[in-house]
Symmetry: C2
Subunit: 202 residues, 2 copies
Amino acid sequence: MERLDQQMRFVAEIGLLKGVLRQTMLGGLGRRENSAEHSWHIALMALALAEYAPAGTDIGRVVAMLLVHDLVEIDAGDLFVYADEAQQARQRQMEQTAADRIFALLPPGQAAGLRTLWDEFEERRTPEARFARGIDRLQPMLENLKVGGGTWTEHQITADQVLAKVVLIEDGSPELGRYARDLITGAVRTGLLLPPRDPARP
Amino acid sequence: MERLDQQMRFVAEIGLLKGVLRQTMLGGLGRRENSAEHSWHIALMALALAEYAPAGTDIGRVVAMLLVHDLVEIDAGDLFVYADEAQQARQRQMEQTAADRIFALLPPGQAAGLRTLWDEFEERRTPEARFARGIDRLQPMLENLKVGGGTWTEHQITADQVLAKVVLIEDGSPELGRYARDLITGAVRTGLLLPPRDPARP
């Protein structure tokens, strides 16, 4: 197949991400968010919040990572962030298989380049991947607050569960982590989020 | 207002782009495309097709430009690419006003940076802006072909009208321009697009 034709097959295939729905409800629109528009939002967030990444972070790489990070959901679907460990493990397996298929639509060298970006995001070892993951975790919190609780209310999520995810934000950016922690405190105070579960009463 | 709070107002505001509908119909989904998911698609296209940009093009800048290029539609809405000149002029005016408002949600220095990106895209003078504009024009053609004609059929668009837009693609990338021209020839041959209007018969 001609190189450009092969690249255009990838371009067509990735369009399917517009049909993958996330749990997040969009305030004012009365519908769930899809993974393509979510990816756009967080890529632009990374540009707008770049100054909160550790010094020396390559923001262009963060943006590229965020643009590709959800492509695997074309095959694997989106899993709710509070799904249990067994579901998460199954999801990781499906996403690996999806990555094998989707990136391989591109010519080999290019496929390897984008796959490396995706692996880097998943492994969360570089400052770029950590910052990207933090932004990816922050955005649904902001959306939940906008709709007065959203998936937190719907699934009876408690503050301790949300705080466990804030660790990922702090890991990418201490300032954004602090900001998220304050949001959660505020959400508990205003009743948008259930207080931490009392570990003494299961 | 605290700097981060101000940036977070911008982050919340840009989310409204998910509610701006374009003319493009999405194959398989049976709905119109919104400007946020469109922006994601073309940003990732710019990465996948980077090798067709003129040598030395800063692809990170192209991607950033594509991420912000449609934000003005939050206020101005999306105008069909084949709208008449009077409508286009009105739209340009509304988009300037929208840019003044939306970018100014950010702290001044940062607002100026993103506004410069938007202006650069609009002015189409740098290789980055030309490549970005070309990708922005190519994507709806690909979507129309996927749905068997799409907005071309719906609005009885003829090949000469589409070819006038291909000039923008060629201007950003000769290879992608050639590819688009071939697509149009094929679309006329298979009946997905009306042949050029005979200028002798108005």
